[in-house]
Symmetry: C2
Subunit: 417 residues, 2 copies
């Protein structure tokens, strides 16, 4: 896809930016001067639209119209309206997605729903490399339910052969948070269905960076966060997808009043709302939710296929430049080599990965580190430039060549990034 003659030069990279049809989108973001941001797969940056929308919600809506904003400014329908917008990005129907709670909570809801939908089956099949909260929520649910479901963890290569008639649900990340490996959503969904199992996809590391096509794949269930490639803001609320064919029988175990058929009737008995709304629970966090809504506007200006294409080019460039500039310096590729098997990130391994990432951050190149040795570089086609990749690899080369990271100020300590 990326066709550049070898060796790749800075000029050739600048030419890629000149030819980039998405480059006008960058000015919608409030990016810090001089910072090259490769962590949009962890926390997407602020859009001007989100800042304006939150300010308006504070000042005009909450501030001036107070409680009446629930009706007057449509707060009450916001989880559903924003859900419908996310639906387009994950290839689902508008009435199949709603915003609610966190990804963790939504995993709990859908794992419980899946076990109910497959009575007599007791296995949740997953991978040890799954994002930890996905495993933890399954472990917690297993403790609570009787008979106790079993969490069966197998490596990705053995996943399909581990399917059997005990498996109620396969719980998987679409894109692995650490390596960026992209699962074949369609193939795994089909294989699970052949064994009578459902699949619950965690789209946190893919939504907003590529086409997902849940309906086309006949996917059953999915969750995802909105603060990575969707740029919704720190800890912004997550979403739930339930295929329409499962909605009537799928039930959330968390019977909150926002999931009730008629919340403002204040009935003493829970009656689930029809459709996807039953997967709401408590009162939604409006400030965080309007930030998500505003952040989604930019996706109206772009096709997901375009995003994916640029994302793959950014990844191919990064890998090619690392091979060209940093060979023999102890870096290995933790991500798949073929960009079709990668999500929107490139992960590298190095025994001094932590220190190297600290040295990069000191130079204003912000990726992140995942223990024990992974440097992650998120690729975000809405606002990243090809030249950012060139400069990041140049800095990486310099740090490695000069063992800059050996300096005591890069010694390891507890960090979040």
């Amino acid at each position: 896809m990326l066709e550049l003659s070898s060796p790749i030069t800075r000029e050739a990279v600048v030419a890629l930016d000149r030819g980039d049809a998405l480059s006008p989108l960058r000015h919608h973001f409030d990016l810090p001067q001089g910072l090259l941001y490769f962590d949009g797969n962890s926390l997407g940056p602020l859009l001007h639209a989100s800042r304006q929308r939150v300010a308006e919600t504070l000042q005009q809506h909450w501030g001036q119209d107070l409680i009446q904003s629930w009706n007057r400014h449509g707060w009450i329908d916001l989880p559903r309206r924003v859900g419908a917008r996310v639906a387009r990005l994950i290839g689902a129907e508008p009435d199949e997605v709603v915003i609610a709670d966190s990804t963790s909570i939504n995993l709990f809801k859908l794992l419980a729903a899946a076990l109910d939908l497959r009575p007599g089956r007791s296995v949740i099949l997953s991978q040890p490399s799954q994002f930890p909260t996905d495993l933890y929520m399954a472990q917690g649910l297993a403790e609570l339910r009787q008979p106790q479901p079993q969490l069966r963890l197998v490596e990705s290569d053995n996943l399909i052969s581990a399917l059997d008639s005990d498996v109620a649900v396969v719980s998987l990340s679409h894109v692995d948070f650490k390596t960026g490996e992209r699962a074949d959503l369609r193939r795994i969904t089909r294989a699970a269905h052949q064994h009578g199992a459902l699949v619950l996809w965690d789209l946190s590391h893919s939504a907003g960076a590529m086409e997902i096509g849940l309906s086309r794949a006949e996917a059953d269930l999915a969750v995802g966060c909105t603060y990575k490639f969707l740029n919704g803001g720190p800890g912004s609320p997550a979403y739930v997808y339930v295929a329409r064919r499962h909605q009537e029988r799928a039930q959330s175990p968390l019977w909150g009043w926002f999931g009730h058929r008629d919340p403002f009737a204040f009935d003493t008995h829970y009656m689930p709302a029809p459709g996807i709304d039953r997967f709401q629970c408590g009162t939604p966090p409006i400030l965080s939710l309007v930030a998500v809504d505003a952040a989604l506007d930019i996706f109206d200006q772009v096709e997901l296929a375009q995003l994916r294409q640029k994302s793959m080019m950014l990844g191919e460039l990064l890998v090619a430049l690392v091979e060209q500039q940093c060979s023999g310096r102890g870096l290995t590729l933790a991500s798949p080599r073929d960009s079709k098997s990668r999500g929107s990130q490139v992960s590298l391994r190095h025994s001094a990965g932590y220190q190297i990432m600290q040295a990069l951050i000191e130079r204003g190149i912000v990726g992140d580190f995942r223990a024990p040795d992974v440097l992650r570089f998120g690729l975000t086609p809405l606002y990243q430039r090809f030249l950012d990749v060139w400069e990041a690899v140049e800095a990486l080369r310099d740090i490695l060549e000069n063992r800059v990271w050996d300096h005591p100020r890069f010694q390891r300590r507890g960090v979040v990034t």
Copy 2:
């Protein structure tokens, strides 16, 4: 407490405002011109501090420091730090409270924890008048657990006599959302303990308006929302209280990564964090959370006893004025007559309650309506004036005398307020 000669005059009410030591606090709020707000028990108004803090968080923190804000601006500890501030307001120790999720989700966590702490007991004892989500969450949990717990609902007068050795946990609102009746937290807690049961208090309608004294009452468990008297903003995150003596054995059933002992170790197995932190779950919604944090500043300037005193005076004035100005017009008091038994609201009943509230709202007097016939007036001593009460009752008198509410424009339709 309120001593005014009869009949109460406007001048006497103005004098109350002149003598009000809390009146300087009002200017910290961004209150709409000309609006008299009696719905702070549903959605508290915006504080200038919250608007500034959210703007700063958007612009300087998220916008400029991006992912590094988790450490640099202390986002990672925010649930705990804000929890410690709420602790002071509910009479708990700083390490007994954490901010997490919604009130609904937190009810689920603590009901499950309570059942685990009382093995062999299967009853959740509550009241039919409990806020609906409290009942729904218990019903949902009962469906999930085996052996199935039983939700036993009894009226408040029969509550203590319904305690027996089957009761694992009593789940109660401290202040009833509809009538404003205030439960005797200390007495009920003691009675439950005598029967070996725990009590889970929902403080949503009391925290921020009065002293609560959880530690003094030897309370076990509590939840509450931050968007009513705490003014945290629409759908702002809720809190969890677990008494220190229960923390080691109390376990959340929702094993999210933010409740893990070491979230950023990315272990595959869940290990609960020590103490209250295990009741966190997913990534916290930072924008909503900083709004809560800023909104709590004002409580540093006031004693809860002062707030309670003014709240009671506001309530007594409202009741006395309704009796003086509106007698014979079909209004009855839905709240207890004795202000010591009331929370920070006065509820009235009228067969045309919905239309009357609509007519009041049209005049800029915003209370709310709860089916079938309750008009609620929230009393919020941080920013309300005694004159607001006078003017609200004057408007109510006029509406009733002239049957203004009989006009077709006030006919009933679905609403949230």
